[in-house]
Structure formats: C-alpha cells, structure tokens
Amino acid sequence: MIIKQLSVFLENRSGTLQEVLKILKKENINILALSLADTSEFGLLRLIVEDPLPAKEAIKAAGYTSSVNEVISIELKNEAGYLSSLIGKISESGDNIEYMYAAPYFDGKVSMIIKTDNVRKDNNIIES
C-alpha cells in the first residue's frame, strides 16, 4: 500500500526533536510510526501521521523545512522468511531500497515502511 510520509530536517543541536514533537502535540497530531536518521551534520525525522498535510503546515509555520512523499507500507506476517521474500521481489526488479523502518502500531498491525527508488512500481510488484 502506498502511504504518505512527512520528513522534517533537523539540525544537530539539542532540543530540535522536542520542538517538532511539541508542535505535533499542540495540533493534536498522533504519530503512527517514526524513524530518526542522523549524519554527523544533521538529522532527518521521518513520520507517518494520519493526515500529513496539516502537520506539514504547522511545522512549516514554526520555521522548519519538511516535505511529504510517498512510501510503501507492507503489513508483516509474524513468520520466519516473510520479509525476506518481500524484499526479494524488489531486489529482483533491480531497484534499490533507500531506507526502511518498522511501524509497530500502524493500523493496529505491524508494518514495514519502505522507500525505494521507484515507489509506485515496487508497490505493484509487492502487491502482485
């Protein structure tokens, strides 16, 4: 399934994550999944929320840079080898996985959020 993800640019300094979380709290926006990637220079917060557009507006109004983009969400089965066979389909297509992270409470089930270099095509491959 294709879903929307909200990404926020964070400087590497104390308190930035808290500031963004406070904005979401104030807007009563619930976080369904989250990943925080960091480099030596900056951090990148990726969020799955119910409605990313109002969240983006609130974050932008506070002076943060963010973007909304599509990612693949796959519901996982609790069995050995399941993820391997899913990822195997993407590998066979020749596409790269840019990043992935788990969404433990997404839609009441455990899911994996995946970004590939061709999200729509790879979503079709997985769902087929």
Binding site: E41, S67, E98, K115
Partner: protein, 433 residues
C-alpha cells in the same frame, strides 16, 4: 645588509625627485596608451603636463578592483600584448578574476624587490630557501622563487600540500630559509615538534606573508623554531609579494618607494592623509610597464612613517595593518569576498542565496565554514540527496573562491536573511592586536 643601497637609502628629497620624474613618465605613458586612464583624466580636465612632481599625484583619479574587473582581461594593458611574458590572477568579488600582465622588465622589477626584501631578512646567495607558497596564478610561489634566484640563493620550489616532504627536504637539504604563510609555518613547527625534529633543522629565517598575522604569531614562530621571522607584503594587483618587507628593527614594512608610491587616504573623503594617520593604503606603480596602476586603492588600513630607520633605510614604512575598508577576508592566504558565496550558490539549483560564513583559526590553521539553508526546494527525505547537494555546493564554492569550505546545512530560520545590510560573516580570528 642592503641589496640596493642607492635606491633604499636616498634622502627624502632625492626620493621625491625620482618619484616625480617617474610619475610624470608613467602618466604620459598611460594617458597615451590606455583609454581607461585617458578618459578618466580627461573627465577631470587633466593632461600629462599637469603632473610634474610627486605632490601632483593628488590630482589624479583613483583605480579600484572594480576597474580591474570591468577591464578584464586586457583593457588596462599599456603595452602591445606581445610584450607580455606572464600573467597572474587574483580572485575578484564576482565570477571573473583580476588578471595582471607582466612584461620582461616587470618580472625583473618584481625579482629585484623580492631580492631587496630577502636581503633585508638577512639572506644571501649562501642560503637555501624553500618556497612553500603555491605556484600558479597566485603570485606567492613564482614571486618568491624569482626573487630568491635573482639573489643567487638556492631555491627549493616546494609549493603547497605536502608537509612531510617539506620537512624531509628541510632536513636533508639543510634549508636555511623558508617563504610561506605564517599560519602554515606554525603548522610546520607543530609537525617538527611532534616528531622531535626541531633541533635537526638548520632554518634561521622565515619570510612570511599573504595573510594578516599578529606580533604574537611572530613571537611564537620565532620561539618555537628558534629563527627570525619577517613580514613581507604585496598584492597581485601591484606586482605580488615584495612591495614591502620589514627589517631587523621591526618598525614597519619598508616599501620600495622608487617603484611603488604609497599614500594614505581617508576612505570616505578620499583626501590624502599626513604621515602617521590611519587610513587606506593607495599605491601608484611608478615603473611597471604591462599594467600600471594609478592610485590603486588596496583597501588595507594602515599608516605610513617616513623617518630614517635604524637599519639605514630612508624609504617609508607601512605600519601594522588594522583591517580592511571592505569586507574581504583572507583565509589560508586566499582572498575571499563574502559575495562570492552568493555567486556560487546561484550556480546550484535548489539553494537559496542565504548563507553565513564563520572563519576561525584552530591549531594555527584557518577554518572556513559556510552555513546554507535547507528549504523545501532543496530538501529530500533521502540523506543521500542532501549529502549530494551539500557536496555540489562545496564544489561550487571551491570553483568560485578557489578554497575548500566546509558546508553545513541549517534550518531556514537559523540564518539572517539577505537584505543588503545583513551580517554574513563572523571572523573569530584575532588578527589585529
């Protein structure tokens, strides 16, 4: 020791007389050969015959680096192009560099001046000199090289970038003198100390320049390497290093007045100021053939003293530099105008023109950090893309400025927005004491 006693120890009257004669000849030449100067003089109703003595210099119009840029590449040539044997260039505020053209005689004058400076620092034909300035469009390397050869010293053209090799050759070849930037020399001192090699070197003199430095740095260099360090001044526009240098008395930098006429002006009123007054240094090249400069505004703030020096020289002395009358920074010996960063950013799509430069000196080496903002056009959910854009910006700055910057991505609200008056620079180095 004095390389050219006739020219360096004349009476003040003799100096003024020689300067007047040379200025008249120079003005006649540029009036007839350079349309730029002719038009400027005509606009003021001036003819070469109005310039007879050196005091007449105040009638003449100023020349600025903008003039050099606008007349790039050959607009200010005063001789046919086939007389030019070499060019050097220095970076300008925007894209195009400033190109400076030398005739054979210009190279000789330059070498003569560098020989005078090296003699002032106590060097002779018996010395072995390592040149640790870059060789290329920058005047440092070739300027020091030709001057030292003219002196008869043995030159080791090290250029920049390989400290280990420099140290090895310094010991193996029994190097007695080095020409490089003062911050680089401190870096070399550190490397020698860490290897316990300070006692193995035979170095006795350093001729340092190309960047501002303090008396404190000089003391450190002298104490740590057990040598004498001299300050050499110059700028590509005038000729390169060797316009002036200090002597053992350390009472200022002797400027070779028979070739370069110095004056101090008020940068606002543009009035000439008397001896001892702080203002902007202007230089007129009295003998240069290829691209003579008339009342060139160096933007360096200093004052001049004219009394006879303990060393016996009578030529004027440039006092300690007090900064700049423009926003140019000298970082690792490279001239950087903050607006060049904006120029570089314009070449990378996705960036905004906002930036903030932080310059510092850490372990005797200049740091050059540029913060740019990540706005929505620039932003991506993939780190790879952000890193790629960052390195694109680093490359663009390197291309434009000729110096590697460390680019840092910041949130948009973290930077002052450009409205023409915004502060774009923080220089944390203490370069004037």
């Amino acid at each position: 020791m004095i390389w050219n006693e006739t020219k360096e120890c004349m009476s003040r009257d003799e100096i003024a007389h020689l300067q007047g004669k040379r200025l008249h000849a120079q003005i006649s030449k540029v009036y007839h050969n350079v349309e730029f100067y002719r038009k400027k003089m005509q606009a003021l109703g001036l003819e070469p015959s109005d310039i007879q003595t050196i005091d007449d210099v105040v009638k003449l119009p100023f020349t600025t680096y903008a003039d050099l840029r606008e007349n790039y590449p050959y607009g200010l040539l005063a001789v046919p192009k086939e007389e030019i044997v070499r060019v050097h260039a220095s970076s300008g505020t925007t894209g195009k560099p400033k190109l400076l053209c030398y005739t054979r005689k210009d190279i000789d004058i330059w070498s003569e001046c560098v020989s005078r400076a090296m003699t002032m620092a106590g060097l002779t034909r018996n010395d072995v000199l390592q040149v640790g300035y870059g060789y290329g469009l920058f005047t440092g390397g070739l300027g020091a090289h030709y001057g030292a050869e003219n002196l008869g010293a043995m030159v080791i053209p090290m250029s920049t970038g390989n400290t280990q090799k420099l140290i090895d050759m310094m010991i193996d070849c029994e190097v007695t003198a080095i020409a490089c930037t003062p911050s680089y020399l401190l870096h070399v001192a550190e490397a020698l100390e860490s290897k316990g090699l300070v006692d193995k070197v035979k170095l006795k003199v350093a001729i340092c320049g190309a960047e501002p430095w303090t008396e404190e740095m000089r003391k450190q260099i002298e104490a740590r390497l057990n040598i004498k360090a001299f300050d050499i001044y110059g700028l590509t526009e005038i000729i390169g290093p060797g316009v002036a240098c200090d002597c053992e008395a350390k009472k200022g930098l002797h400027i070779y007045e028979d070739h370069f006429y110095p004056e101090i002006i008020d940068p606002d009123s543009l009035e000439q100021l008397p001896a001892g007054k702080l203002g902007e240094l202007c230089i007129t090249t009295l003998t240069k053939e290829g691209m003579p400069l008339i009342r060139y505004r160096t933007r360096d703030l200093t004052s001049l003293e004219y009394d006879k020096c303990e060393c016996g020289r009578t030529i004027a002395r440039i006092q300690r530099f007090r900064g700049r009358s423009d926003d140019m920074l000298v970082i690792r010996g490279v001239n950087v105008f903050p607006s060049q960063i904006e120029t570089a950013l314009l070449t990378v799509s996705g960036t905004t023109p906002n930036y903030f430069i932080t310059v510092d000196r850490v372990n005797n080496s200049d740091t050059f950090d540029v913060a740019i903002e990540v706005d929505e056009k620039f932003f991506s959910d993939e780190i790879r893309h952000l890193e790629k854009l960052r390195s694109k910006v680093e490359n663009a700055i390197h291309q434009t400025v000729g110096l590697k910057a460390k680019v840092k991505l910041v949130e948009p609200n973290a930077l002052p927005h450009s409205d023409g008056k915004t502060k774009h620079v923080e220089d944390r180095r203490k370069l004037t004491d």
